[in-house]
């Protein structure tokens, strides 16, 4: 027998919460993107847990696609961050209001 699924789900919930709080309290854009990665990983852990629990390959496939989307998201996000920092060195999330009318 292996560990009950609720342990994994609890751990994933804790990690997701830490990521969400970090996203809300930090203003460094890079750390905010890292917190988004934390939340994605918590969701991945949940997917794998349910895949095991329901004996269904779909959960693991979903994690595979989440990984790909996360990679694309990081590439584009970091590109935007580099572009913002080039205009305004030392920018935080509050400084990125160029689109404001």
């Amino acid at each position: 027998m292996s560990i009950a699924a609720s342990w994994y789900l609890t751990l994933a919930a804790v990690v997701f919460t830490i990521g969400a709080i970090g996203l809300l309290i930090r203003r460094n854009v890079l750390v905010m993107v890292m917190c988004v990665e934390l939340m994605l990983n918590a969701a991945n852990l949940t997917f794998v847990t349910f895949a095991r629990e329901l004996n269904d390959v779909g959960g693991q496939i979903a994690v595979f696609f989440v990984l790909v989307v996360a990679a694309a998201e990081v590439v584009v996000g970091l590109g935007i961050i580099v572009a913002i920092f080039r205009r305004k060195p030392g920018a935080t999330a509050d400084d990125a209001h160029m689109l404001k009318g």
Binding site: A4, T17, A51, V57, F65, A70, I81
Partner: protein, 221 residues
């Protein structure tokens, strides 16, 4: 709590889970509370390794390998590249980073999320049908099962994924490209360094680019 963990698991399983969980949570806290972004990125690697261990424990060996190769090997290295490129690898004071009202609001919201997800996670959730898109056990190793499913049932999403990656690469190149002439970075970093920058660029470009460097000089003034 310990007996609850051991009720369904063997002792090695339980020990592995506890150690991996501690590593995951410590890394996650490190990402949020480290002052230096480089340390945050290294804490993120710690979390990712812990989650890879948990994946192995849940018989998702392929995903554990991909987790380490893609996340720890590529994504975090990309983070570190950008941190070093931007030169933001210095400590920042978290205490003055935001107002206390924002922090209190964040913690309240976070705890609400935690309670909600915990209620969902530990309640009556096993209502789904089993093995709808294919069984995880039965025919071959984990990689075989995922490969079979990925290249039959999920073939179209898989191909769309490759298109997505191409779009992301093109977007990264477009976003990170330096637009000479439209940039005002040189003005912002000030006189002496700007002149050094222009001089080094002139040396790098060579003699046949006198016109562009003259334009640069003009834009600097």
């Amino acid at each position: 709590m310990v007996s609850g963990l051991l009720a369904t698991a063997t002792i090695p399983d339980a020990i592995t889970f506890v150690i991996a969980a501690v590593i995951v949570i410590a890394g996650a806290l490190g990402v949020v509370f480290m002052k230096n972004p480089v340390h945050s990125a290294l804490s993120l690697i710690m979390t990712l390794f812990g989650i890879a261990v948990l994946f192995v424990e849940e018989n998702a060996q392929f995903l554990a390998a991909v987790q380490i190769i893609v996340y720890a090997g590529a994504i975090v290295v990309l983070f570190l590249f950008v941190i070093m490129l931007l030169g933001v690898d210095r400590n920042e004071r978290i205490s003055v980073e935001n107002s206390s009202a924002q922090r209190i609001g964040a913690i309240v919201l976070g705890l609400a999320v935690l309670v909600e997800v915990l209620l969902l996670g530990t309640g009556q959730w096993v209502t789904g049908a089993h093995s709808v898109t294919g069984s995880l056990t039965g025919h071959g190793a984990n990689v075989n099962v995922i490969g079979d499913s990925l290249f039959s049932t999920y073939l179209l999403p898989f191909e769309v994924t490759s298109a997505l990656l191409i779009v992301a690469v093109v977007a990264a190149v477009v976003l990170a490209r330096r637009h000479d002439g439209h940039e005002n970075v040189e003005v912002e970093i000030g006189g002496k360094e700007a002149h050094e920058l222009a001089a080094s660029r002139e040396a790098a470009v060579g003699h046949d680019a006198d016109e562009t460097s003259a334009e640069d000089e003009a834009s600097l003034r």
